[in-house]
């Protein structure tokens, strides 16, 4: 008997990041503020947010745009969004 060639039946579905499938916009400040430090307003890196390349780039670009256009504060996090659930694995 010869082994039958077939695709790996135990293959897991590809891992998705938390923003996979969500359209990132510079207008929804709440979503963007979740990837920003509350004390300094700096954007978290890829090792903290855990996003894939494309989404991280998109989020960074959107945050920068929101800064310039006056949607999001630069040096701190909007106090209205301070009590949002923690997405990134930050160690304060």
């Amino acid at each position: 008997f010869q082994p039958i060639q077939m695709e790996n039946p135990y293959k897991e579905p590809p891992k998705r990041c938390i923003l996979c499938g969500i359209n990132v916009d510079y207008k929804n400040v709440q979503l963007l503020s979740q990837f920003v430090s509350p004390h300094t307003g700096r954007i978290y890196g890829r090792h903290i947010t855990g996003l894939c390349d494309k989404k991280q780039k998109e989020v960074t670009k959107a945050i920068k745009r929101a800064h310039v256009l006056g949607f999001m504060p630069v040096m701190f996090k909007n106090p209205a969004f301070l009590t949002d659930p923690k997405i990134c694995n930050v160690k304060y």
Binding site: P14, C17, I22, N23, D25, R65, L69, V74
Partner: protein, 106 residues
Amino acid sequence: KPETAAVLKRTVEALMERGAIVRNLENLGEKSLPYKISKHKERHRRGGYFLIDLEGPPSIVSTMMDHLGRDIDVIRRAFIKHPVSKTEECSGIIPVNYEDKLIAKK
């Protein structure tokens, strides 16, 4: 409030004059700005946000930025490309084989 209406009317008319087609005009509300902006010798704390859906020739961008810069009531102006949202193809994180990548580059 009639002042904001007048500003919008002026802007839209200037756009139509240069041959742009206005598709939609959205009001994102009047909020307090995230930081104080000083423009035209005045420190602004509150502002109204408006989004105009535009279709037109790219040559009007510079003239419109000039025009809006001279308008006292406009605090910040910007032209942004219409976002083409395509997130249905997001296939998740594809595991990258770093070994092969390193060898191939050498």
